[in-house]
């Protein structure tokens, strides 16, 4: 006999508020291996089917790919395997789940109730870290990151000094509590090094580094909640933080991801959709100059479809750029008010 948590009341309320979605009911509270679980989502009848697989070690239940991310919008919490255990069992089972999972319902709704071309709710705030020269919080749905900018300042390590431009550095770190199951990873693993590099290159492309020779700009991004699209959220947060620090930039670089699942292009993938194994296109975009500065994709995709998917991500970037502009205007008004103008 296996069992599952259902949603905590409070979580349900939070979900309803954030995503306008809630779990309608469980078809069963006690389920056995191999039984199907059906979840109804309000506002339409998106039905998610997943099989239960059994871990031999502890005989705990996991619900397919859904449980792989207990922090995603559906938030099905299950008893964990203990420290270090991954929620997904193995790649073979993940593959099976992927085939069985339906990411877009016949009515055209996604797992969290969005339309395919709908972005998650975004929220931004300038000035989250009092001691930094510039800082910002950026939220995309349940993904939440903080960015802090220090500089331009004297170069700490003299050997790295560049005589005709500023040195831009970046560090990406994830909090232990940012993922569904608690992780304790050493700093500087390969994934975060790669993301640091991506963010650094993207930001370097839009900062007017030649105006600040022999100086250093540090960008630190900290992930508080990870639910897919952390890369994009980090770039957006870093843009806001750089603007807050008053660092000259060519344009506000924004980023958004899109994917292609169940033959539908999807905007702004969350963790479940991201880990489904389909293509995931991340785009960094300069809206005013109309230029792409970052482009990454996993998996494979026909060229004509790729064009559509990338275009979708670019539209997402433009929407984010508009929002960021609004937030900055609001912030400037606040500053003006404080000065008494």
């Amino acid at each position: 006999m296996l069992s599952l948590f259902s949603l905590r009341k409070e979580t349900q309320r939070r979900l309803r508020r954030k995503n306008r979605v809630a779990l309608h009911h469980w078809s069963a509270s006690k389920i056995t291996t191999g039984s199907k679980l059906i979840i109804n989502i309000l506002k339409g009848t998106a039905i998610v089917k997943a099989t239960i697989c059994q871990s031999s070690l502890h005989s705990f239940a996991f619900v397919g790919g859904l449980l792989a991310s207990s922090q995603n919008q559906l938030e099905i919490l299950g008893p964990s395997l203990g420290r270090g255990a991954r929620p997904y069992i193995n790649s073979k089972q993940r593959w099976r789940n992927r085939i069985e999972m339906e990411f877009v319902s016949p009515e055209g709704l996604r797992l969290d109730g969005r339309r395919p071309m709908e972005m998650r709710q975004i929220r931004a705030e300038i000035g989250a870290v009092a001691k930094a020269d510039g800082s910002a919080v950026f939220e995309m749905g349940n993904t939440k990151v903080i960015a802090a900018v220090y500089g331009p300042r004297e170069v700490q390590n003299r050997t790295q000094q560049i005589n005709d431009q500023a040195l831009v550095r970046c560090e990406y770190s994830m909090a232990n509590f940012s993922t569904g199951d608690r992780m304790r990873k050493p700093k500087g693993d390969r994934r975060s090094t790669e993301i640091s590099l991506v963010i650094r290159q993207t930001m370097e492309a839009c900062i007017l580094t030649h105006l600040m020779p022999r100086s250093q700009i540090d960008i630190f991004v900290q992930v508080l909640q990870a639910d897919g699209g952390t890369r994009s959220a980090c770039i957006n947060a870093a843009t806001l933080a750089l603007a807050d620090a008053g660092i000259p930039m060519r344009d506000l670089v924004t980023s958004c991801s899109s994917g292609y699942l169940n033959s539908t292009p999807l905007l702004d993938l969350n963790y479940v959709e991201d880990s489904a194994g389909g293509p995931d296109v991340t785009v960094g975009f300069l809206p005013k100059l109309d230029k792409v500065t970052l482009l990454q994709m996993d998996s494979k995709l026909p060229i004509d479809i790729f064009e559509n998917v990338m275009q979708l991500a670019i539209e997402g970037c433009k929407a984010i750029a508009n929002y960021i502009r609004e937030i900055m205007l609001e912030n400037t008004k606040q500053l003006e008010y404080r000065r008494g103008i």
Partner: protein, 391 residues
């Protein structure tokens, strides 16, 4: 509106006042511009501003400013000391001052050090607080939805997040009737550039160990703020492991007190699901468990101590030191005290030795301060929980 703007300045820019006075001291040529600024602002302000609230602060700051400034300005200050306008003029000129220091690193000049030490000796610190006054505490609970409990605490510019995650595990064989609690602190590089890479590890470890010592009691688990035996599900087989993860988002001194308070708030926000054990498991087999969907057990957090850090600067000690004040400390004692007034843990940091009688004196002061802190924290936590329920 103008008035608001001034009070804002007053609270946020106290250090720049000292900086100005120093720049002044070291560069006599600048004194003319300084006085000119003063004069201009004086004229400006005479015309428009209502002044009441900050009047009292004049007294605190005037002497120390006078101490740091050369004689000429001193006489200027004292000549017109009756006028509240002067103080504002002074502050205003601070904003105009060309001296700008980057934040983050504590690089204090001798004058600034003197200013901080002198202020503490006179019982008014550079942000207007007394020696034993905390900065306002802001508590938010339930900030991290994927954890069982979480809280964010802000004290001035210090900003920490604490989360509690509960996982089912096996108790260790030496203590089959006790659950496990572990505390980890992570210093984010957003708090200070020096925490980049592995730079924050030393401080993280120091803070984790100090928190474990203060909150978790001895090796046997006795004397812990959290009742470890309440975490056991099946004796010797299943227990709850609590992982308390803290993140320092922004650091402006007094991290340990803030982290202690954040853990207390996070634990009072934590709900642990009720567990039903299937009967019939025997021998070495792990019994099967059924975790409740609806029922959550709350912690009794009234026994969890708060941590009060007394930082000794010169002959006096202060609570809730900022980074600048901490850079001037000779030693610091962190004392964790519970509601009953019992001492639950003690850590001394800093190189300088302390006279035993001073230690005892500090403990009694900490006990007194902790009463106020516990009450304040409890009301803030209750308010945060109520606010979360409403929204």
């Amino acid at each position: 509106m103008r008035f608001l703007h001034f009070t804002f300045l007053l609270h946020l820019k106290p250090i720049s006042i000292t900086r100005l006075s120093l720049a002044h001291q070291s560069q006599p040529a600048a004194s003319f511009t300084f006085l000119l600024n003063l004069f201009v602002c004086f004229l400006l302000l005479r015309t428009s501003v209502p002044l009441t609230l900050t009047h009292f602060l004049c007294f605190g700051l005037r002497w120390s400013v006078a101490e740091a400034l050369p004689l000429a300005s001193f006489s200027f200050l004292s000549a017109s000391s009756g006028s509240p306008f002067l103080f504002f003029a002074f502050k205003f000129s601070v904003q105009f001052s060309p001296v700008r220091y980057s934040t983050g690193m504590v690089g204090l000049s001798p004058g600034e050090k003197h200013f901080i030490q002198g202020g503490i000796a006179q019982d008014i610190r550079s942000d207007g607080r007394k020696r034993l006054t905390y900065r306002p505490i802001n508590v938010e609970t339930g900030v991290i939805p994927q954890a069982n409990g979480s809280a964010r605490i802000r004290m001035g510019a210090t900003d920490v997040i604490s989360t509690v995650k509960a996982e089912l595990g096996k108790p260790i064989s030496l203590q089959p009737d006790k659950g496990k609690v572990s505390i980890y602190v992570d210093c984010s590089p957003t708090a200070a550039p020096m925490f980049e890479g592995r730079g924050g590890e030393e401080l993280s470890t120091e803070l984790s160990v100090a928190l474990q010592r203060s909150l978790l009691g001895g090796k046997s688990g006795a004397g812990a703020g959290i009742d470890l035996s309440s975490l056991v599900v099946v004796e010797g087989k299943i227990c709850w492991d609590l992982y308390i993860d803290c993140l320092v988002v922004c650091s402006d001194g007094n991290l340990l007190d803030a982290l202690g308070a954040a853990i207390k708030a996070a634990l009072s926000n934590t709900g642990i699901p009720r567990v039903q054990v299937a009967a019939g498991a025997s021998g070495d087999e792990q019994p099967e468990v059924d975790i409740s969907d609806e029922e959550f057990l709350q912690f009794d957090t009234s026994d969890i101590p708060v941590i009060v850090t007394l930082t000794k600067v010169g002959r006096h000690y202060i609570v809730d030191a900022t980074t600048e004040e901490e850079s001037q400390m000779s030693s610091a004692i962190s004392i964790s005290v519970n509601r009953k007034g019992h001492i639950c843990g003690l850590t001394k940091r800093g190189g300088a030795g302390l006279d035993p009688s001073i230690v005892l004196d500090m403990i009694s002061v900490a006990k007194h301060v902790s009463e106020q802190l516990i009450n304040k924290l409890d009301s803030e936590i209750a308010a945060a929980e109520a606010g979360e329920d409403e929204s």
